[in-house]
């Protein structure tokens, strides 16, 4: 009985799919080289998973399409570098600064756009995203302009009794995985909380929620700001991984790529959609990239087909297949019952 209650309590924080994901990503550094890929790719995938999961809080759960999210990723990257150079050479301070800087900027932007929805919202996020992009590329004295902010170090992770050196890609893999795990658990808890339910309700019918007395503006503001904070954290990690912060991630195309990852995987119907999409994107990039320079052409075509024919993405296909299998099983169980058994 008490074990049952405990299991139910745990379910708010964990899920079977999450354990599978943790098992896969946690052991990634051990087998990624065996399947012909390389360790750095694992780091990159995990960082973009964090980014896409946070982005999906906004897109999949609140129904707000942002096409300028790369800006907050970039702000996080610059914040980590600038803190390291000018403020304090500490990993934790740097990552905190990355998260907070993106949250503050995102929170400011959200004040301007949280009363909008749909196409207006998307256009405004593009405008703000481009503004940050141009500022970052022109403010050379701070951001290094087109060259970027170079020589960002991977500082050791102090955890009270010990310090882990993150300069190698193996250690960095594990550190990125730990961050990914923490973010995943927190986001999972968040979307299954009453707050998450309100967000989903706003996605379905914003006007009704407003009439029910919910402060829709505040919820949308919080959703945007939180997803920007996660983007900033991911950006900070990316700056560490790349040993630098570059302006390219802030442009319109990269902002679009995170939308694309989230949707191809099926972020609109599943928590795990963004993770599936991110893995697919990077594996496609490396596999297609081996054969052709213009792999984005093929990826773009694939993406168009997904939107046209399977708009719910990989997770949608999976769910439909699972539902069909379930229906078949039930049909078989009914057929096996002896006639007139009741």
């Amino acid at each position: 009985m008490r074990i049952g209650a405990l299991a139910r309590g745990m379910m708010g924080w964990l899920s079977p799919a999450m354990l599978v994901a943790f098992a896969l990503f946690g052991t990634l550094p051990l087998w990624i080289e065996a399947v012909g890929l390389y360790r750095y790719l694992g780091i990159e995938i995990l960082i973009w998973c964090i980014f896409a999961l946070g982005f999906n809080l906004l897109l999949g759960y609140t129904g707000l399409p942002s096409f300028g999210h790369g800006a907050y990723f970039g702000i996080g990257a610059y914040a980590l570098g600038l803190t390291q150079f000018h403020l304090a050479a500490s990993l934790w301070v740097g990552l905190l600064a990355a998260t907070l800087a993106a949250a503050v900027m995102g929170g400011g932007v959200a004040l301007f756009i949280s009363h909008r929805r749909g196409i207006y919202f998307a256009l405004m996020t593009i405008a703000f995203g481009q503004m940050f992009f141009f500022i970052a590329s022109k403010w050379t004295s701070v951001t290094g302009g087109e060259d970027g902010l170079l020589d960002i170090r991977r500082l050791p992770a102090h955890v009270g009794f010990a310090a882990f050196d993150l300069t190698g890609n193996l250690a960095m893999s594990y550190f990125t995985f730990a961050t990914f795990a923490v973010v995943t658990v927190l986001l999972w808890r968040l979307v299954h909380s009453p707050f998450g339910k309100v967000l989903r309700a706003i996605k379905q019918n914003e006007t009704r929620m407003a009439y029910l007395g919910y402060r829709v503006f505040a919820y949308k503001w919080a959703s945007f700001t939180l997803s920007c904070a996660v983007a900033g954290l991911a950006g900070g990690l990316f700056a560490m991984a790349q040993h630098g912060a570059y302006v390219q991630v802030m442009n319109l195309q990269w902002s679009g790529v995170v939308v694309l990852m989230t949707l191809v995987g099926g972020g609109l119907v599943s928590f795990w959609g963004p993770v599936v999409g991110t893995v697919l994107y990077f594996v496609a990039r490396d596999l297609l990239g081996m054969y052709t320079e213009s792999w984005l052409l093929w990826f773009g075509l694939m993406f168009m087909l997904v939107v046209m024919f399977k708009p719910e993405g990989v997770a949608g296909i999976w769910q439909a297949a699972a539902a069909r299998a379930g229906a078949r099983r039930r049909a078989r169980a009914v057929a096996l019952q002896p006639a007139g058994g009741k």
Binding site: I119, A127, M131, I135, V307
Partner: protein, 309 residues
Amino acid sequence: MDLLITLGPHLLNGVALGLLFALVALGFMLIIGVMEVINLAHGSLFALGAYVAVALVTPEGGLRLAALATYFAFPLPARFVVALVVAPIVVGGVGMVLEVCLRRTYGRDPLYGLLLTFGAALVLEELIRLVWGPTERFLPVPAAITGGITLGGLVYSVYRFFASAFAVGMIVLLWLFLQRTRYGALIKAGAHDSEMVRALGVNLTRLRLLVFALGTALAAVAGIVMAPIWGVRPHVGVDAVVPAFVVIVLGGVGSFWGAVIAGLLVGMVVGITGAFATAWSLVSMYVLLILVVTVRGRGLLGKKSVLER
């Protein structure tokens, strides 16, 4: 007063830029109006227009067939005019293909239309890179509209005058088309309530195809006229389409003259900041947008529309 005079050339640059932004924005807005789709491929189609024009004007632009030797023997002005006519038609055709792909997203979340066109933008940009390579190209301009004229001691570029006049002509033509023709009336009605237009017996499928072709052809026209000013690169479209977003939100979605006024405003602001702080000229338009939209939520001349669902 002296300051105003020295700003002259910058203002001319601003006007030319603003009118071309308005042209891109108007095509974009027609598509938003009738299909409720944000066409993120608009920038790539802008670039495609410029590339097709380069191919039609210079023999090095991609077309190297022997049969075309007689064509390239034509004088440059003739080829330039051919490019101005043919390239938008080609791009309009590509736009039609895109519209056919988009059909599956109608009636679903508008997000899907946006995503499909984002995919199309990636594909078009990569195709351009594949066909023409990543290096920058230049569109030669007939001698009659190059060079500069000196007014009051300052040099004004003739081509900017041409670009402004051409854009004004296109805007007026578009306005007359929308105001004076049957199809124009249908497009306006479609932007108001497309389902009602269908219920009244209009072939909505054909109307949408036409609007998409028209909107993308306008992007191509702007791309060609802009090409000698900006140069032609595979990703040049982003530089045009993002200001067009700004112009639309600033002018108010669905307002023809709102877009024109906002285009001029954006062009002026970019031109004037360009005179004082070149690096920051492109940021200034976003500041303008934020200032205006904070005060007037729907932009300068915007009305409440279906897009705010």
